[in-house]
Subunit: 332 residues, 2 copies
DNA sequence: CTGTTAGCGCGTTCAA
DNA sequence: TTGAACGCGCTAACAG
């Protein structure tokens, strides 16, 4: 920076102001400084800047998996908002494990994010501790937690499945099964399964049947295997709700191979409104949870919360419930 | 850190060594220090650490899109290796745009990554400049560039399609079209299209037909629309190679709706070996490019290159060509 | 194995 | 609108 300053004939402090675009610098000097920097190949050092200003200008976002279009749409929404406010995002992928999450949080915090966005409302005790001590805004997204750490934007997974079940009942199905939703670390899956079980009771169905598919990520393969087990275990089944569109697709394709007509022999519904669901033949009935909008909401809250902290006027905890829609297609 | 040191009855420097796990600290003191840190909720500040040590311990990885299983598998491979060496990764998504890439690079460099991995071999001049001046290892992945900036791991997109074409010819197809591959910023698509056009000549086919699908990302929707245009433009077509599995799937599903049997009326091949291709009914003939292995290779090179720089024994540029395989399935 | 000293490259703060 | 002084929190380097 000193070199640039010398070359432009100003003090280093003026270079700092010009290059960050804050504070007042006469336009003509600014230009000279920017040119000098370019010629020297000078690039600001944010480690030093952050240390001095106590601002890192980035937010951590933790999602279970990089390869899931629901999460990636959410991330798009978050990024859209935060980038527009000049913030950067540092991603972490937890692989659906709370232990990984804890580890990633502790690693992230060393870089002093100004906020952190988590997927899901269940975390290890140590993770909660770390977050508390960090004194930065936390936004939990997707699953609305019982007791949010701070802010939250999401929906009730159980409710989405209950709505789907009601729809299937209305369409005339009576023997409805559920594919997916394990005991283990799969909180979203468990919630959806819970919704299924509640709906079976509420709607007064005679029988229920859950085919667990193991820990996430649940793939097309799981749907293929699951549907075979299902038909064997409960031949009278006339509809099945899957924990996501991926196993729903896998199940439907396997049905085609087996000659089980969808939806005549068996109706199949998914969750998430993935691209494959609208193009699949038959197209797949599913639940859209407005991922992008959810992400934008989370981004807005985070931006405001950070602004609040910087100005020493912290905002109060925000809890937003986002809407979901059952989308009826050919598979039911 | 001073507080932790006081609490543990040591000097701050010893706390630093204990918490980073480098250098020698007597086990008993180390434990005391770690406990003290935990009790005080102390977390290392890497901004300060990086400033002092001139090591940031992270690598930037730029990919076109978060939501593409090919790229995400590659990223998995990279992460596997780099995490095992204790490095972190900072992702950037370019949205298939060189201008975005340039901007992201310049933002990233302010945080002083110790290396940078780019997808594709074509960049803006300014981007190349920035990278040169940064004096850090650069690994270009996926497309093998004509003139690599530094290291490269990838394959020739054109070659993969040529191999697919040869396979289709062997299977008896003669009127083979290509779906996708635009003029614009889509370098990978253009290369694949080039491979198609070369193969048409080399293999002595009578006619060629390219249906461009616009700029990436190319989705299932593009395949659906493209196949309709194709059949209209060239009714005699008996096979079509798609720029990726996504449009291939979209095309096949549309064929089912239209009553065009795949592969009897029309054979369809894709690229990338996405999950949907093996579960689709019919399953889709495609090209597997070993994304995860490619990523691991890139990670290994990066790790060695960084090690080299730290030890002042820089390694020489590495260029690795990774293998690809044509996977024949039901759609041809 | 541990401690001391010095300084990494900026931005805050205040004065001009 | 610009500049000077200072210190952010840590680690390299060296001494013991």
């Amino acid at each position: 920076m000193t070199d640039v300053a010398r070359k432009a004939g100003v003090a280093p402090m003026t270079v700092s102001r010009a290059l960050r675009g804050d504070g007042y610098v006469v336009e003509e000097k600014k230009e000279r400084i920017i040119n000098a920097a370019k010629e020297l190949g000078y690039v600001l050092n944010m480690s030093a800047g952050s240390l001095s200003s106590n601002k890192t200008n980035f937010v951590s976002v933790l999602i279970p998996s990089i390869n899931n279009s629901n999460f990636s749409e959410t991330v798009h929404g978050i990024a859209e908002v935060l980038h527009s406010k000049g913030m950067q995002i540092l991603f972490g992928y937890t692989d659906y494990s709370m232990e990984n999450e804890e580890h990633i949080i502790s690693t992230m915090l060393k870089r002093r994010p100004e906020g952190i966005i988590l997927t899901g409302g269940v975390h290890t005790d140590q993770a909660r501790n770390l977050l508390k001590n960090a004194h930065i805004p936390v936004v939990e997204i997707w699953d609305l937690p019982e007791k949010p750490i701070n802010h939250a934007v999401g929906f009730l997974n159980s409710r989405t499945i209950e709505d789907m079940m009601a729809r299937l009942l209305f369409l005339g199905y009576r023997n409805i099964a559920f594919l997916g939703g394990d005991e283990g670390g799969d909180n979203r899956g468990r919630e959806r399964r819970l919704g299924y079980e509640r709906a079976v009771k509420t709607l007064g169905l005679d029988k229920s049947c859950v085919i667990p598919l193991g820990p996430p990520p649940i793939t097309m393969m799981h749907g293929k295997e699951g549907i075979i087990r299902l038909i064997k275990e409960w031949p009278e089944v006339d509809a099945v709700v899957c924990v996501s569109d991926l196993p729903a697709f896998g199940a439907i394709m396997e049905c085609q191979r087996q000659g089980w007509k969808v939806p005549e022999r068996l109706a199949v519904a998914g969750f998430g409104d993935f691209e494959v669901s609208s193009f699949s033949c038959p197209s797949i009935t599913t639940i859209n949870v407005g991922c992008a909008e959810l992400g934008r909401n989370a981004g807005e809250i985070m931006a405001k919360a950070i602004e609040g902290i910087r100005c020493k006027t912290p905002i109060s905890p925000q809890i937003i419930t986002t809407p979901h829609t059952v989308i009826e297609r050919e598979s039911t």
